[in-house]
C-alpha cells in the first residue's frame, strides 16, 4: 500500500497535535484562504519584526479546518518559517512549491525544508497538492501584504 508514503508518521503527528494553532496578537496582516474544491479553509495571521537588514517572521498563527494534509502542512510550515528572515522564508516557500509540482520525482533538500520533506509523497497525488499548499499560500499572501502595505509592528 502506498498510503504510508503519503501519510508519513510526521504528518499524522502534526495533524493530531498541530503547532502554533490559534489566532494570536499582535499581527500585521490576516488572510483567509479557501480550497473551493473541498471547502477547506485557513485564516492565517502573520507578524513580522525588524531584524537588522531586513524583516523577519516574528509569528504565524492560524485557525484552520481541513484534511490531515492541509492541517499538518500549515503546522509544519509555521515551525519552519517562524524566525526566518522574510527573503529566506520566501525561498523556502518556493522550494516547497517546487517539491509539490515535482510529481514525486524531486529529491527534497532536508536542509532547506526540514520536516516538510515528509510531504514529498503528496506530489504524486494531484488532487492533494492544493491541500498541502493551502497554508503556505496563505502565509505568502499575508506576508506580501505586510511588505507592500505597512511597516512591521
Amino acid at each position: 500500500m502506498q498510503l504510508e508514503s503519503l501519510y508519513q508518521e510526521i504528518i499524522l503527528d502534526h495533524y493530531r497535535h498541530p503547532h502554533h494553532k490559534g489566532l494570536r496578537e499582535p499581527h500585521d496582516a490576516e488572510v483567509r484562504h479557501v480550497n473551493p474544491i473541498c471547502g477547506d479553509e485557513v485564516t492565517l495571521r502573520v507578524a513580522l519584526k525588524d531584524a537588522g537588514a531586513e524583516p523577519a517572521v516574528a509569528d504565524i498563527s492560524y485557525d484552520a479546518l481541513g484534511c490531515s494534509i492541509s492541517q499538518a502542512s500549515v503546522s509544519v510550515m509555521s515551525d519552519l518559517i517562524i524566525g526566518k528572515p522574510v527573503s529566506e522564508a520566501m525561498e523556502t516557500c518556493d522550494e516547497f512549491v517546487a517539491l509539490m509540482q515535482s510529481r514525486g520525482e524531486a529529491e527534497p533538500d532536508e536542509d532547506v525544508l526540514g520536516d516538510a520533506v515528509a510531504f514529498a509523497g503528496v506530489s504524486k497525488y494531484p488532487a492533494r497538492i492544493k491541500c498541502a499548499l493551502l497554508g503556505w499560500m496563505a502565509w505568502k499572501d499575508a506576508t506580501a501584504q505586510v511588505m507592500r502595505d505597512g511597516e512591521p509592528s
Binding site: M1, Q2, L3, L6, Y7, L12, I37, C38, G39, D40, L65, G66, C67, S68, I69, S70, Y125, R128, C131
Partner: protein, 422 residues
C-alpha cells in the same frame, strides 16, 4: 424483472481495468459522472467513422444522415421524459447551461421594455430555490437577481433527515414569486423532493417551475407531465452518455415567448444588419454548431437504459441502497446525511466519519480501488446548513453490486483503523 448485473458489467469496458497498482476498480462515483457502455462508445465511433457532417446546413448525403441522427436523438429525449412534442427539447452542453439558458432568457426579457411579462423580473419579484440545491441551481439565479433587482429566497432543509421544509411554503411562494427552481433528487442527500406539490402551489400563484433532474432522470422513470413542471433539465454524462450534451425541456408555449439566450448561426430566421428574427423553438436556443456526435451518443445511452428499463434499474439501486444504508449505519462514528431508509431517496449516500476528514477517507478508499467523491459536492450551502464542512459520497448505478457495497463498508473500517479512530 431483476437486473442481471454480471451481464450489465460486461457492457462497460472500464470496469475491467485495475487501479492503484492492480486493484479492481470499484466505481462508486456515478452521481459525479457515470461510466459508458460499449453501445454508447460504438455509437460515437460509428457516427464519426460513417456519418459525420454538420446538421441542417449540409446539402449532401452525410448531412442528411447526421441531421436525421441528431433530430432522432431529440425525439428520443422527448419520449424519455414524457414530453408532448420534440420541439420542446433543447440540446445544451449540460444542465448548468440549461438552467443558465432560462436565467439569461429571463434576464434578456427583463432588460428590454417589450419582454413578455411572465419572464420579466424587477425589484419586488422573487425567485425561490431550496437550500439543498447544487450550485448550478443557485448561482445563475443569484446572478439574475443581481441584474434585475429581484430577490432570491429559499426553502430551508429540516436537518439531518434531509427534507425540504415545506412549513413556510405559504410565506415563500406568493404572488411575488416569478419562478421556483428546485432539485428533483438531491445529489448529496439522495432526497426526492415533492416536486408536484410545490409546483401546484407555484402555479396557483402564477409562478413558473424549473426542476433540476440531473440525478433523477438517469435512475428512475421521470415524466414531465406527472411532475407538473414548466422546465426540466438533465445531463447526458450522468446517464451513460457522453460529456458535452444535456437537455433542457420547456413547455412549448413558454419557449415560443422566451427571448433567445445565445445568438449565432442556426438560431435565426432572417438577419439584417440592423436586426434579426429568430427560428422557432427548439432551434431558437441552439446557436452555432451543436455537439452532434454527443447527441447521437446520448440517444444510444437512452436506448441502452430503455432496453433495461429504468424501473428495473431503480429497483436494483434500491436494493443496493438498502444494503448500503444498513452496512454504513452499523459503523461506529459514521453519520449519514439524509434519509436513513431507501423510501423517498435515491442511491447517493453522503456521510461523515468522526475524526477523519472526507479527503482522507477518499484517499484511503482510492488506495483500495474504491472511487468516491469527497468535498461539498457543489452544495456548499447545504453542508453549511447541516453544520458539516464537507462529506464523503458513495453513489451507485446499474453496474454496481452488493459485493461492492460490502467493500465500501470494509474500506471505511480500514480507514478508521489507519487513522486510529476506531
Amino acid at each position: 424483472m431483476t437486473l442481471d448485473v454480471a451481464r450489465i458489467r460486461k457492457d462497460f469496458p472500464i470496469l475491467d481495468r485495475t487501479v492503484r497498482g492492480g486493484r479492481p476498480l470499484i466505481y462508486l462515483d456515478s452521481a459525479n459522472t457515470s461510466q459508458k457502455p460499449r453501445q454508447v462508445i460504438d455509437a460515437l465511433t460509428e457516427f464519426y467513422e460513417r456519418h459525420n457532417a454538420n446538421i441542417h446546413r449540409a446539402n449532401h448525403e452525410l448531412g442528411e444522415e447526421a441531421t436525421e441522427a441528431y433530430e432522432g436523438a431529440r425525439i428520443k429525449a422527448a419520449q424519455f421524459i414524457g414530453a408532448a412534442d420534440e420541439t420542446e427539447v433543447i440540446f445544451t452542453k449540460n444542465i448548468s447551461e440549461g438552467i443558465n439558458l432560462v436565467a439569461y432568457s429571463m434576464g434578456n426579457a427583463s432588460a428590454g421594455s417589450s419582454g413578455p411579462d411572465r419572464f420579466r423580473l424587477g425589484p419586488g419579484d422573487e425567485i425561490v430555490v431550496t437550500e439543498m440545491e447544487h450550485h448550478s441551481n443557485i448561482v445563475p439565479w443569484q446572478l439574475l437577481c443581481e441584474r434585475t433587482g429581484a430577490t432570491l429566497r429559499w426553502f430551508k432543509v429540516t436537518g439531518w433527515d434531509g427534507q425540504t421544509d415545506l412549513s413556510a411554503i405559504g410565506d415563500l411562494i406568493t404572488e411575488r414569486t416569478k419562478l421556483v427552481a428546485l432539485v428533483h433528487q438531491s445529489n448529496v442527500l439522495g432526497t426526492v423532493n415533492p416536486v408536484r406539490e410545490i409546483a401546484d402551489r407555484a402555479h396557483a400563484v402564477g409562478a413558473l417551475v424549473l426542476a433540476d433532474a440531473a440525478q433523477s432522470v438517469p435512475h428512475m422513470p421521470v415524466d414531465v407531465a406527472a411532475l407538473g413542471v414548466d422546465f426540466l433539465g438533465f445531463t447526458g454524462h450522468k446517464m451513460c452518455g457522453p460529456t458535452g450534451i444535456g437537455v433542457l425541456w420547456g413547455r412549448r408555449e413558454l419557449l415560443d415567448e422566451m427571448p433567445p439566450f445565445l445568438g449565432g448561426g442556426e438560431m435565426i430566421e432572417t438577419v439584417w444588419m440592423e436586426r434579426s428574427t429568430y427560428a422557432p423553438p427548439p432551434h431558437k436556443f441552439e446557436a452555432g454548431t451543436m455537439p452532434i456526435a454527443q447527441a447521437v451518443g446520448l440517444a444510444a445511452a437512452m436506448d441502452y437504459l430503455n432496453e433495461i428499463g429504468r424501473d428495473v434499474i431503480h429497483a436494483h439501486e434500491q436494493q443496493l441502497l438498502g444494503h448500503a444504508l444498513t452496512k454504513l449505519a452499523d459503523i461506529d462514528g459514521l453519520r449519514i446525511l439524509g434519509p436513513m431508509t431507501p423510501e423517498g431517496r435515491g442511491a447517493a449516500i453522503s456521510f461523515e466519519v468522526d475524526g477523519v476528514h472526507p479527503h482522507d477517507v477518499g484517499q484511503v478508499l482510492d488506495e483500495l480501488g474504491i472511487a468516491v467523491r469527497a468535498g461539498h459536492h457543489c452544495a456548499w450551502p447545504l453542508h453549511r446548513a447541516l453544520g458539516v464542512q464537507s462529506s464523503t459520497r458513495a453513489s451507485f448505478y446499474l453496474y454496481n453490486t452488493l459485493d461492492e457495497v460490502d467493500a465500501l463498508a470494509e474500506g471505511i473500517r480500514q480507514t478508521q483503523r489507519f487513522f486510529q479512530v476506531a
